[in-house]
Amino acid sequence: MNAAAFQAGFARALLDPEAAPPTGLRAAPGADLARRFAVYRNNVAHGLIAALALRHPAVQRLVGKDFFAGMARAFVQHHPPRSPVLLEYGDGFPEFVAGFPPAAGLPYLADVARLEAARVGAYHAADVPPLRLEAVADAAQDAPLRLALHPAARLLRSPHPVVTLWAMNAGEMPLGPVASWEGEEALVTRPDLQVLVHRLPPGGAGFAMALGTGAGLADAAAHCPPGFSQMGTLAILLRTGALVEGGAA
């Protein structure tokens, strides 16, 4: 038997619950071959669904365990991991959630998933000491610092109250009615070992992204809404560990 062709068929049958086991397998006398093959199929599905559930406790809380498992199973079947490094698995899941018809009634769900994916990214990001407020104050006397985003910093703009929804479903805030259903901007940081989620003032995410790509303060604030506080937001970014000193000008 050609090993590559056999493993291709085995892999296809693992991901397709309707497929028959590949030929060439043998079960012990009295054992049902399909039932035995199903152990491998279940291992694959359960392991990957569990990996997604671990990344997305708030999404799971919002839709319930059974709905989540069904949604995750559909994702796994069509988007198996492309790498054995499973801590990276599921980066495409929020996009899949956005287009998952049974979840269409929860238009905010994909953004909650994006925030949770951002938290996982921050958790595993490179260890770099963030830029401190004092360093900026010292530098300002001669030449302004060039800024960049810290490797753990993640920004998310949502038309939904994504930070509030995440916090209520991640045990960070008591569950309750959302006082005002407005878009929120999220900043995820990990200045040391703990992942933190912050809510930025409107315009803050765009401002931080612009700063992070080397724009000066005035340029970064150019598209921010009236009343936007550059210095106030810069202080938040520094206090939360979102910035590092950028490369040479």
């Binding site: 090993a3 085995f10 079960a27 054992a31 958790y123 260890d127 770099v128």
Partner: protein, 283 residues
């Protein structure tokens, strides 16, 4: 010659929730084991914890994603990641499985079975040799838990493993629970399997719990790693130790992870059997 540098003591698969407990005082542990793939992020708490534990304990790095039995070439990027981990943490042992888990670009996240033929043997030997060359160290190859066999298999698994070890110089990781699971599922006697196992090549032993589920007239054993080690596994383990003397022994508990005292008790039980084995050899 022992096939690994792990101390001949008990160890546990490290779970982050046990971090503070393990560091809180003396433990009946000679080493800890981690799944290599869980430490392939760039930074953060996983690396901080592992670096701290490494100060106190020898490390066994256990891979679950290399697909050594895969029909396709080994993943060069994954080998580089493993080498970086070995360089960073200087583990006393690196081990992987006699199984495959990747096909094409897809990683299937399970340890899938292989037909034991000359063609598979040649492929596994080439892949093990490549891993050892790349990492610059001997590796241990683990016997799999299986649910199915192959009509074309011609070589007994014990002989297959012995031959891989002979041709590559690798050591073996004997998972006693996998023996019990595979024996029940494939209808062979675990004692006969262990009698044929090349114990001189064993550098580490794994112990774990399995789940029993009814499947028609038979009982299907699943390698679930979610319960205490089964009595039959303890008994066979003691018999193996009587032949080998003390060998580094890991308690694997990956699902429904218990509170630290429960896992600690399992490790202490293995530790007691290891001390007995040491006395038996001395006597």
């Amino acid at each position: 010659m022992r096939a690994s540098l792990l101390p001949p003591a008990a160890g546990v698969g490290f779970k982050p929730r046990h971090f503070e407990h393990i560091l809180s005082g003396p433990q009946p542990l000679g080493f800890i084991e981690v799944h290599a793939e869980n430490y392939m992020g760039q930074g953060g708490p996983p690396h901080a914890q592992l670096a701290r534990l490494r100060q106190d304990y020898a490390l066994s790095l256990h891979g679950v994603g290399l697909s050594i039995g895969g029909a396709q070439p080994l993943d060069a990027a994954h080998l580089r990641r493993l080498r970086a981990l070995c360089d960073r943490y200087a583990p006393a042992s690196f081990s992987e499985h006699l199984a495959w888990s990747s096909h094409g670009p897809a990683f299937l996240n399970d340890l899938l079975p292989l037909p034991y033929t000359e063609a598979t043997l040649a492929r596994v030997v080439a892949h093990v040799a490549e891993v050892q060359d790349c990492l610059g160290r001997q590796m241990l190859l683990e016997n799999p838990a299986t649910y199915l066999g192959f009509a074309e298999s011609r070589i007994p698994e014990t002989e297959f493993l012995a031959e891989v070890a002979r041709r590559t110089g690798c050591g073996l990781l004997l998972d006693v629970n996998n023996v019990v699971v595979a024996a029940a599922n494939q209808g062979f006697a675990p004692r006969a399997y262990l009698a044929a196992f090349p114990l001189a090549m064993v550098g580490e032993i794994h112990l774990a719990g399995h789940a029993a589920v009814p499947a028609g007239a038979a009982t299907l054993l699943i390698d679930a790693h979610g319960t205490p080690v089964d009595d039959q596994v303890w008994a066979l383990y003691a018999e193996v130790l009587a032949r080998t003397g003390p060998v580094a022994t890991l308690i694997e508990w990956d699902n429904d992870v218990p509170a630290w005292p429960v896992l600690r008790r399992e490790a202490a039980r293995a530790g007691a059997l290891l001390r007995q084995a040491a006395q038996g050899v001395a006597a």
